[in-house]
């Protein structure tokens, strides 16, 4: 168990030079499995070699992270994200708020999650997690990232 940030939204890293020195937005912080934080890091695991990132985390933390736990949270996060994002479509459909991001996230992105989750139904957990990781866009892919 450890302090978990709950989710690392895009751009919540505070950079100094080429290093992350702090994180903002801790409203979902909780005490839980640290594998959850890695799984919910929204693309950070794809910025560098995933195995090296996890090994670095383990060295810094002083404990190991079970691969099956990371796999579980990667799949769980896809399911949770689909529900949360789809909920945001309600105000678009009702006409209460027709912001375009509501449609791209609440409809388009949800469809991507639906397809990813539908495709993993007969896979084992680790295969499913890898499929989810590969199938999701990396939100950091068009950001300029130094280091690593």
């Amino acid at each position: 168990m450890s302090l978990c940030k709950g989710q690392n939204g895009i751009g919540e890293e505070i950079w100094r030079d080429d290093k992350i020195v702090a994180f903002s937005d801790w409203e979902l912080a909780n005490i839980g499995d640290p594998c959850q934080d890695l799984a919910l890091s929204q693309g950070m695991l794809k910025l560098w070699d995933r195995g090296k990132i996890i090994a670095h985390y383990e060295r810094a933390a002083g404990f190991s992270l079970p691969a099956e736990n990371i796999a579980f949270y990667l799949v769980w996060n896809a399911f949770k994200s689909m529900l949360v994002l789809n909920n945001g479509l309600r105000c678009f459909l009702s006409g209460q708020y027709r912001g375009l991001a509501r449609a791209t996230l609440g409809y388009g992105k949800v469809k991507i999650y639906e397809h990813l989750l539908g495709a993993i139904l007969d896979m084992d957990l680790e295969e499913a997690a890898e499929f989810i990781v590969q199938g999701q866009p990396n939100p950091y892919h068009n950001k300029k990232v130094s280091g690593g």
Partner: protein
């Protein structure tokens, strides 16, 4: 008719991305523009494939619902679910002039599929056989509509 709807939409997106986006400095406006381009690309795909997808899906789901209905007939405890399915299936076939829009029909069918999937007793009926019929249909549906969403919505939306 040329230019086609997808050609026109494609030209609009290209113009927004090449001539408008570089001059936008406000990050929220830039985000809205990226969302608009993504949705326009999706609309272009819809104009080409949505009608066929809906027609094929409506035919498929009607057959699925008829199959499920037959499986439920021997079970008095599912009379309410049966009546709901019978009511919708008694409506016009997909494509008939009085059938309403294909979207409306599809919405009605999907509501039934959802009701059946959420029915705890139906879920375990015949060792989950009815549930598997519905699940297999949903997988076919995903495959059918795949081209409407991939790769349009796989890029970051913000």
């Amino acid at each position: 008719m040329r230019p086609t709807t997808p050609e026109l939409i494609s030209a609009i997106v290209a113009s927004l991305e090449r001539q408008v986006a570089p001059h936008i400095t406000d990050k929220w406006a830039a985000s809205a523009l990226r969302s608009a381009a993504q949705l326009l690309n999706h609309i272009a795909l819809r104009t080409q494939g949505e009608a066929q997808v809906l027609e094929a899906d409506n035919l498929d789901v009607r057959q699925v619902l008829a199959t499920v209905l037959a499986r439920l007939e021997a079970h008095a405890e599912f009379s309410a679910a049966r009546r709901a399915v019978e009511g919708v299936l008694a409506g016009p076939e997909s494509g008939a002039p009085t059938a309403g829009g294909p979207e409306d029909r599809n919405e009605s069918y999907q509501a039934l599929v959802e009701m059946l999937l959420n029915h705890a007793a139906i879920r375990v009926l015949e060792q989950g056989a009815v549930h598997r019929i519905l699940r297999d249909y949903l997988r076919r549906r995903l495959k059918r509509e795949y081209s409407l969403y991939f790769p349009v919505f796989t890029s970051p939306p913000f």
